[in-house]
Symmetry: C2
Subunit: 345 residues, 2 copies
């Protein structure tokens, strides 16, 4: 049985979830591994995952068969397990609870070699819709306080499978990252009676130094204090604290801007490994005036991550204003190159 344990100094919860391996260096993190070219996430191999909890299909409705565009399955080797009652326990001055939770894999495409960045906005929308549906469903379970949705792309960013997928973890506790954000945002709201993120968006649009792109409802900015070069945040322009309350129309506009942002990044740094994480309000919060949902996209430059990991402190060699300029130009220059090629050909 996995365990949730709390660091008594920082209040940080971690999951202890024993791996199947015996050797101390044998740690399958996402559970799935491609073996001998067999991909458990490919169409035709639906039997090699637990039964799906959600799928978007055109035509036939038969579950666990090929024909899906997006498919969500429980992780076969989950970090937390879904069955059981939550029980809390003290061990002297320490706190722990049993590892109740959900760990699911969102398979973003039936095509093994396709990348998330390659998806059309319409297909990316299907992925975003799957996130929403799963959060709405898991929200009904009173044991869970938070659903964390994230994607690791590329080995350097922690992905163990190349088939395009993201993950979600439903947790009986609030991750420390969210606790800290809520607390910072609440302090600001108490002082100003305005949402910090709304103010940030207004200032960014006015200054126009870190806005990568925008459409009528969403905006992609580089944060003022980014951890790494090319870190990007995608936010709704109007105040929304809960991702799972977004309409289809809103998610389609989100997908359009997300797709453009990722394409700009890829045009600038081909094959970049990256992570993104959805930051949204805790389950059943009922809409928070001081919090604003958003995605944080963090490209992973290995050497820099190493520095941070060691020191707990981020050194970023590229001012976000310069990175913004590069990203703004990137699609145009990629287009120019194609045009040149066409002319040359």
């Amino acid at each position: 049985m996995p365990e949730l344990r709390k660091d008594p100094v920082l209040g940080r919860w971690i999951i202890i979830s024993k791996s199947r391996g015996d050797r101390p260096t044998d740690f399958p993190v996402e559970g799935y591994q491609e073996e001998n070219g067999f991909c458990p996430l490919c169409p035709g191999n639906e039997h090699s995952t637990p039964p799906e909890v959600l799928a978007f299909r055109q035509g036939s409705d038969a579950p666990n068969q090929p024909g899906w565009q997006v498919r969500v399955v429980p992780n076969k080797f989950p970090a937390l397990i879904i069955e059981g009652d939550l029980s809390k326990e003290g061990v002297g001055l320490y706190d722990m609870m049993n590892g109740i939770g959900a760990h699911e894999v969102i398979i973003e495409s039936p095509n093994h070699d396709e990348s998330f960045i390659d998806l059309t906005p319409e297909r990316m929308f299907q992925v975003f819709k799957a996130y929403r549906e799963r959060i709405r469903d898991l929200e009904k379970d009173p044991r869970f306080k938070y659903v964390m949705v994230f994607k690791n792309h590329g080995k350097a960013a922690g992905a163990s499978l190349s088939h395009p997928h993201s993950q979600l973890i439903a947790l009986p506790i609030l991750p420390r990252m969210i606790v800290s954000e809520l607390s910072g945002a609440k302090s600001y709201y108490r002082y100003k009676e305005r949402c910090l993120f709304c103010d940030m968006i207004r200032q960014e649009i006015q200054m126009d130094e870190r806005v990568v792109c925008q459409n009528e409802q969403f905006i992609t900015i580089m944060p003022f204090a980014p951890r790494t070069p090319f870190e990007m945040w995608v936010l709704p322009k109007r105040h929304h604290s809960a991702y799972c309350r977004q309409s289809d129309e809103e998610l389609l506009l989100l997908a359009e801007l997300f797709s453009e942002s990722m394409k700009r990044l890829a045009a600038c740094i081909p094959n970049v490994p990256y992570n993104f994480v959805l930051h949204t309000e805790p389950l059943r919060s009922g809409g928070m005036k001081h919090y604003h949902y958003h995605f944080e996209i963090v490209p992973k430059m290995t050497s820099i991550a190493g520095f941070e990991w060691g020191s707990g402190f981020y050194i970023n060699p590229m001012p976000p204003e310069e990175a913004t300029t590069l990203l703004r130009k990137s699609l145009d220059s990629a287009k120019e190159k194609t045009d040149e090629k066409d002319t040359a050909g």
Copy 2:
């Protein structure tokens, strides 16, 4: 001029320090790079670093010449710069200040191929003494609030040079990690009127499940909620909040235990990349009743770091109690193997 920028949501400070490179993927993080087999940290190449700020030599006292055992130099490509007055500035709702600070490299050995783990306790003591001397010196500068000492070993842990070295950064702000620790430790002290770390050590000795090794004054434990397999903390058994107030005798005992702990780790996972960070009280705090200095040693298993990086949440596949058992046995079994070999030979 580098800049310090504050994330308005989390209160996290980051350094923006432009690299020399023009390409967006060209990010020398530690500044130094080995080129064509030339190592700027080797004896004989003292001219290729800025003049030393400290060195321990036997015999001759001439600075910036070979003959040193440990040598401390300013980083040639520092993340922060030492000259100038501290100036704070608001940019709308954002906060920043100019990047005043010190960034130094502690060269741990004259031998390029030696590893920190290979050092005898007496030589490791020289390294610990160098940390102390540098902190004491930098503490005199009223612009600095904190000195962060850390080591990255191995490429996966962010080291760009193989010559054994650690680093320090003197900062005009408190790193968020320390702010959080101080705040957690203070809450506990207010409630119990006891140091949280002292209580933890008492409980660990009593439970004896996560104690890796100890001597009369120091103890190495695995934390109850470790981020990664084999994470270790080395702490003084008696209450000490400030590393830089430790005596030579104490640092020698620290070095002995640190050396044993690292040798146990290396016997269990050969060539493991790792980081360690000194967690000590802010400069000129005058001794805190609620804080307890310690080293955190974090082995880096790439796939796991990737997961954390993406999700902001740690999943550790190995309970610290099992890792402790492995480390307790590790030196003995390595010894047995040598004995067997000797017998076989």
